[in-house]
């Protein structure tokens, strides 16, 4: 048995193609680009060795500081919100709508498939102030408030970005987490309920621990996606006003290609990768503790 399960040739045939493609097309380029972090220059001018200068610059650069801060704020808040809301949707599907949830699930999933360009245009129009007031400002007017220039300052723009990405992703996380919840045996819940457990206790002590593996995947997936946010910000605010909604990815892209400083851009990317790694490890660790407690 061990011999068959560990058959080298089969492993090679099954794993080989994926490993080769992945190594050659992703890992190798990543390693090469990481190497550029120790150089100064770009594809046109060529590269000059500068040692660790780029990393020194990371610490002194106020733009890195502000985009790092934005990335962290955005990543954490959006991860909590989208996994939280997705989990709420999943609970709604499983325990309230039950068998009738298929259509609702389908519809709420749908924004995931919309092109970013379209969604961003939509949200720009929704939160518009001039030349026409968008629906949101019109609504504020009805409530007696004065219209707000949502894209005019970083604070408001931040929340519009969060709202937009939440709108796009909640349905996706809802379905992903639904897959984990649907396996929780109904009888178990029913008997606990008969014993007089409150809904809160049910969720806290039975449902969450039982759906932990899929919740974990969702969290890791979400934090890695949100820390690397690019498309939606470029399309919605392009990092503005000023650079108040510029995440590390956008700053890296600008540095590498617009400012022609590929080496420094690579060191920003390296920092981002390390950040993602830290968060992933952190989530793994804390989840393991949680599971053992439960």
């Amino acid at each position: 048995m061990e011999r068959v399960l560990g058959d080298k040739k089969t492993i090679l045939v099954l794993l080989g193609p994926a490993l080769i493609v992945y190594t050659v097309v992703m890992l190798a380029p990543v390693v090469i680009s990481m190497g550029y972090a120790f150089f100064d220059g770009n594809a046109i001018t060529g590269f000059t060795w500068t040692g660790t200068d780029n990393f020194q610059r990371l610490f002194d650069d106020p733009d890195v500081r502000s985009s790092l801060w934005f990335t962290l704020k955005y990543g954490l808040i959006l991860t909590v919100l989208q996994v939280g809301l997705g989990y709420g949707l999943a609970l709604l599907y499983v325990f309230v709508l039950q068998r009738g949830s298929a259509l609702v699930r389908t519809l709420i999933f749908f924004p995931v498939v919309l092109p970013t360009v379209a969604v961003a245009l939509l949200f720009q129009k929704l939160f518009e102030i001039a030349p026409q007031e968008g629906p949101v400002n019109a609504f504020l007017g009805v409530l007696g408030g004065s219209p707000i220039d949502f894209f005019g300052d970083g604070g408001h723009a931040f929340w519009v970005v969060i709202l937009m990405d939440l709108w796009r992703s909640a349905g996706f996380y809802g379905v992903l987490l639904y897959a984990g919840l649907v396996d929780v045996p109904e009888e178990m819940l029913e008997s606990a309920r008969l014993e007089g457990a409150s809904t809160y206790r049910l969720v806290r002590h039975m449902i969450i621990p039982l759906s932990m593996p899929v919740l974990l995947s969702a969290l890791i997936f979400s934090i890695n996606g949100t820390l690397k946010v690019f498309d939606s910000i470029v399309a919605l605010t392009n990092g503005g006003p000023g650079n108040e909604t510029t995440p590390l990815t956008l700053y890296m892209f600008q540095t590498s290609f617009s400012y022609g400083d590929y080496g420094y851009g690579a060191s920003i990317a390296l920092m981002l990768t390390v950040l993602c790694l830290l968060f992933t490890v952190f989530i793994f660790r804390s989840a393991r503790r949680d599971v053992t407690e439960a």
Partner: protein
């Protein structure tokens, strides 16, 4: 230790990649067809192009259209030898594309040379750009390019004539004659007059100025306009040379002047989200009195479905004087649009035939077809509509030209300046902070 070491590593890695990719190709050979994998020569290097490839930003439709027209008419012979092939890329992706292509010596025959003069200069240092002064001289058509256009190009690109003046734009204020008459306003001769006029319009319930804060540059050009009038036409050259700083009080006062307009609400609501179209449309709908813009805007003015106020109702005045300033309103801001250039490596006699034909015919064709003034001298003077004539006169009367705010900046300072322009006029960034942010970006370049 220069590039040799990483070159070795890169090559090694490339070999690796090659092996893997080849393996993948074998694996995929029976999969669906993947387009013509033999590719075409449009981008491949080596000075013998099989077509007149032209990489241009997708936003620019005038130049490709005009070249296509020429290829079917005056330049048919050149086109038969070397057929025109236009490729487009969104302007925001242009710089990245150029870097990738230039890194492989794979630039097309002709291309838009980047969003900032700084990138154009980098390409030039790498020997990628054709020297038009020499080439046109060899072709015997140097006299087909207007000296004013050449001098504008040289002042932008470090004294070199290495981009083409497909467009020659001047900038200034366009105003709604009707609105000015209704409010008893004259053409402002000084900046204070302009502010007073804006105040009067604002009091009358008309939005005084229309500008796109989303683009940023329509606002920063007001800053440079003010600085040029206050400190003279060489003011920003001094900054570029390091002889002055944007944070000097004289320069900050330019940003302050524009910020003051914003603080009084003269640009209307939400200026930061107003895109280019909306800004133009506000003016053409009669909802704003004044628009600062380059003469390329005549194309929009000519669109009857957008222009509700009528061409006859639009007037032009140059950026006014600042009282006691060293500059004057006769110094006209001008530019050649997004720079278009030719690859030095891809140049040969066939490309030369195209270039000669363009020099001889583009000026005339562009005036006739698009009402657009270029730096190529037209063979005969066609009849122009009044606004185009007005621009043409302004061009001819210009003794000295000035550039725009970011013209001598690098990419980073340009981005910083244009993205922070809206916060400046909406009041969330002060004039001092704005100037010091831009200066910091300049210092880091």
């Amino acid at each position: 230790m220069k590039i040799s070491s990483i070159g070795g590593r890169r090559r090694a890695a490339m070999k690796w990649t090659g092996v893997g990719t080849a393996a993948l190709l074998v694996l995929t050979a029976c999969g669906g067809s993947g387009g013509d994998s033999d590719g075409d020569g449009s981008a491949s290097g080596g000075g013998n192009p099989s077509e007149f490839s032209f990489l241009v930003n997708a936003e620019n439709t005038t130049i490709p259209d005009e070249l296509t027209t020429l290829s079917e008419d005056q330049c048919k012979a050149a086109n038969d030898d070397l057929p025109l092939k236009v490729e487009t890329v969104p302007q925001t992706q242009l710089d990245q594309k150029l870097q990738l292509l230039a890194g492989q010596d794979a630039l097309p025959v002709s291309f838009a040379a980047g969003n900032t003069p700084a990138l154009t200069a980098t390409l030039d240092e790498d020997g990628q750009l054709l020297d038009f002064e020499k080439t046109f001289d060899d072709l015997g058509v140097l006299d087909k390019i207007s000296p004013a256009a050449i001098s504008t190009i040289k002042s932008l690109y470090g004294g070199k004539f290495n981009v083409l003046p497909y467009q020659y734009n001047i900038e200034g204020f366009w105003y709604n004659k009707q609105i000015f008459a209704d409010n008893g306003l004259d053409i402002p001769a000084t900046w204070d007059d302009l502010v007073a006029a804006a105040e009067k319009l604002d009091g009358a319930g008309v939005q005084p100025l229309s500008a796109s804060g989303e683009q940023g540059w329509p606002l920063t050009r007001l800053i440079s306009g003010y600085i040029f009038r206050e400190l003279g036409p060489d003011a920003l050259q001094k900054v570029a040379d390091g002889d002055a700083k944007l944070t000097d009080p004289d320069y900050v006062s330019g940003a302050q002047a524009v910020a003051d307009l914003g603080a009084k609400g003269y640009f209307g609501d939400g200026v930061g989200s107003i895109d280019y179209d909306t800004a133009i449309n506000t003016f053409l709908s009669g909802d704003a009195g004044i628009l600062y813009m380059g003469s390329w805007v005549l194309g929009s003015f000519a669109d009857d479905s957008l222009n509700k106020i009528g061409n006859d109702n639009i007037g032009f005045f140059p950026f006014p004087d600042v009282e006691g300033g060293a500059g004057s309103s006769t110094q006209t801001p001008s530019n050649v649009g997004l720079p278009m250039t030719f690859s030095a490596h891809q140049y040969n006699d066939k490309v030369g035939a195209w270039l000669k034909c363009i020099a001889e015919n583009y000026g005339q064709a562009s005036l006739e077809d698009q009402n657009s003034i270029s730096g190529f001298v037209p063979a005969t003077q066609p009849d122009l509509d009044p606004l185009t004539q007005l621009v043409q006169d302004q061009v001819e009367n210009t003794k000295e030209s000035v550039l725009w705010f970011e013209a001598l900046f690098g990419s980073k300072a340009t981005t910083v300046s244009q993205t922070n322009a809206a916060p400046l006029v909406s009041g969330s960034t002060s004039a001092e902070d704005f100037m010091s942010k831009v200066q910091d970006a300049l210092d880091s370049e």
